[in-house]
Symmetry: C2
Subunit: 340 residues, 2 copies
Amino acid sequence: MPMNVRESLTEFDIISRFFSDINGLDSRSSAHARSAGSSAIMLGVGDDCALLSLPAGQQLALSVDTMVAGRHFPEAAPAFDIARRAVAVAVSDLAAMGARPLAFTLALTLPAVDSAWLQEFSQGLRQAADAYRMPLIGGDTTRGPLTITVQVHGTLPINGGLRRSGGQAGDHVFVTGSLGDAALALQMLQQTIVVDSHQQEYLQQRFYAPSARVNFGEQLLTRATAAIDISDGLLADLGHICKASGLGARIYSERLPLSSVMATLASRSQAMRYALIGGDDYELCFTASAQQRLSLMDCARRLDLAITEIGELVEDEGVVCLDANGQRMVFATTGYQHFS
Amino acid sequence: MPMNVRESLTEFDIISRFFSDINGLDSRSSAHARSAGSSAIMLGVGDDCALLSLPAGQQLALSVDTMVAGRHFPEAAPAFDIARRAVAVAVSDLAAMGARPLAFTLALTLPAVDSAWLQEFSQGLRQAADAYRMPLIGGDTTRGPLTITVQVHGTLPINGGLRRSGGQAGDHVFVTGSLGDAALALQMLQQTIVVDSHQQEYLQQRFYAPSARVNFGEQLLTRATAAIDISDGLLADLGHICKASGLGARIYSERLPLSSVMATLASRSQAMRYALIGGDDYELCFTASAQQRLSLMDCARRLDLAITEIGELVEDEGVVCLDANGQRMVFATTGYQHFS
């Protein structure tokens, strides 16, 4: 049992070949953007530590997410997709805090060295790094069951940050995008539904390449009272805001935003279930006062993003979903179980 | 296959029960230390992101390390030991950069929820957090093969940092502590050597609780030209300094510092092998000009740490080890292979 391995020449080869130039700057970036984007990175991949400096008046937001093969994605998923999903999922937490992506690290555990797989994986990583303008600044590669841990780092004005605890009674509850698509995509990946090629493409994209709403998240900093990204399902995640804010919420099932693919492929009751307790959508759920509504709608329009008002925060505890008749809907679980 | 799980109530229970109060401040800390130590942590475990601010004039050093069960530690190792080793190994990279520990995150993948194991693990984590005065500020728990990823964050004066590339021809090469003990400990864990209880305790400590040399690392900031922590073995790690600095090194086998346990348990040639190519010692190897020697010795003495001058940097490429007769020693490999 070769237990005391840490790195090796071969590991250095992997890093140098596949991970040394993921700089979050695609080839179309201007010299100006290049210089602005990398100014805070003092030292990247290849020393004992990476070094980051923060602009004056800024603080660092950070979040870490692990994805385990066969648990968070199918064992046989394309490496390209695994990589970009791992990055997007982590960046989504920055969006939910209102932070701007700065840099990320990657801890990659691999069952074997497979150059073709690594090549694909690094391309997915590069695409995601470019999309969020965020370089890879460090990491660790080890051998073992396929596991990907991404830690993202973002900047935020000092004293800023969209905490879960900021919700006020009477605030309106909003979500970005459409809900439940990732749960529907999972049905497709598990081959329990039949889809056409357009639907397949849409659902693949929603599952493997969720768009972390970072630009809109930044706009929320001065407009929202609380925010969270929807990873465990709307009921569970809105529940976190409620618990942290010492409040409850009432939402209306007929207001929940559903994609046209969802409307086509799922029954109404299935769609409600996916939208309310399906995880992995990585849309934002946030709360704001009524006065902010127009400003929020305007921000969303400029970013070409749909937002939907789905309910309000109330004094009573718990999250309640009302159907079209004003009847309370009941679900067996309020979020996916991780350890069970 | 429950693939789209992210978190669950049960995961929140784990975090709240075992990981919410690891604050890097043991009960003996004064109120003053408490306030100073935590001043940069704006928000810890329990929101979408943790938030860190940096004191003026400081930059952030960060490093991530993964440990896989059966690879970096025995499957059956005590959870307490796994936890403190995972933290120490990561902190060692901060020491090698001259950074002061600030905070850490933990991505923990577990095969099952075992309260007794988690209790032990969190105690080891707490001990290490206290030792380095560094709170746990965030993380992720997932289900899968036992894997522990720790990312450490430290502070460093802007424009400071002990890079691998700073070595100058003629610099002296030093190491802290003694070398090869972790490789010898591995022989003990694999039951290929017989030890008495004192030797067992010493080697267990060296393997599971290496002391990251953070206090001495900080002193090196103004005194050393380059530094690295010895994770892959002296020859390999000194080789990294040499490569980054565009130089070579000559070291002398009879100067290599060996523990008395090593001298007792291993033959001279085994001891040389462990000291030169054994990994996982997490001592520092650093280079400095001759003028710094007295100052370095003085710093080490004040910290009750042994340092040993083992050779010098030279213009010729490669790391050469000379025996007592001035003959070049040759080894089959210059570091443990990770992927092979």
